[in-house]
């Protein structure tokens, strides 16, 4: 399990490859499911040109690690990798990577979904968007994405 919160640009697929080459035993996992969240150039109907992502150093990592541990305990998975970017970013930048390796793809899908859902619900991050018109505002609530309750039910 590896959890990283970083200001540097995130290259999600380089991170997956690096993790596979350095941490995972070759030839043992049957598959990897990954989610990469990228910054959109719109939100709630407004054009967005930049974003600053604030976080609580220490607490953020701790809560992501808790969610990853729950996923490792809840499904038959071999490893979980999360890399999350903070600070200033721009449309189409990758913000977050969640990758889950497993011998069985059903477990990998379930666990990956669990991690991204709970990371979004519990990990302390705050988005401050800058619109094309130059106005800065804090995002007040996460865009609702179905699936959190559903994913929670599946955790054992």
């Amino acid at each position: 399990m590896r959890v990283v919160v970083q200001e540097e640009a995130l290259d999600p697929y380089k991170e997956i490859k690096h993790h596979e080459e350095t941490v995972l035993e070759s030839g043992k996992h049957g598959g990897v499911v990954s989610f990469v969240g990228t910054m959109r150039d719109f939100n709630d109907g407004e054009d967005v040109s930049a974003m600053n992502l604030d976080h609580y150093p220490g607490m953020t990592e701790k809560h992501i690690e808790q969610v990853c541990q729950e996923a490792m305990d809840g499904w038959d998975v071999m490893d979980v990798l999360v890399v999350h970017r903070v600070g200033d970013m721009y449309p189409s930048d990758p913000i977050v990577l969640v990758a889950v390796w497993s011998a069985h793809r059903a477990s990998a899908f379930d666990a990956c979904r669990y991690v991204i859902n709970y990371l979004k619900e519990r990990a302390p991050f705050w988005k401050c968007e800058v619109t094309k018109a130059g106005k800065k505002h804090w995002v007040e609530h996460n865009s609702k994405d179905p699936g959190v309750a559903e994913s929670r039910e599946k955790a054992v």
């Binding site: 604030d54 609580y56 977050v96 519990r122 804090w138 007040e140 609530h141």
Partner: protein, 77 residues
């Protein structure tokens, strides 16, 4: 007792600072007492509270040296 306080996101801007230190008299104090020392206004409804980097609520009792954080709902990921 001495308490370290942190603010994040829009609340940090509203409070005009990223962190603070408060000193409370007596042996027993809660997160509420910390807030009341920081502001004359009631704590906004949606503000979340963490003590030593774990979510909790206003009624939690504190000990000297605890880190108390106040912040708006999370919007990350």
């Amino acid at each position: 007792m001495e308490i370290d306080v942190k603010f994040f996101a829009s609340l940090r801007e509203r409070m005009g600072r990223t962190s603070d230190k408060v000193t409370l008299d007596g042996d027993v104090a809660t997160v509420s007492d910390v807030w009341n020392q920081l502001s004359s206004e009631p704590i906004p409804n949606n503000i979340l509270v963490a003590v030593n980097k774990e979510y909790t609520d206003l009624s939690q009792e504190l000990k000297s040296g605890d880190e108390v954080a106040f912040f708006p709902p999370v919007t990350g990921g």
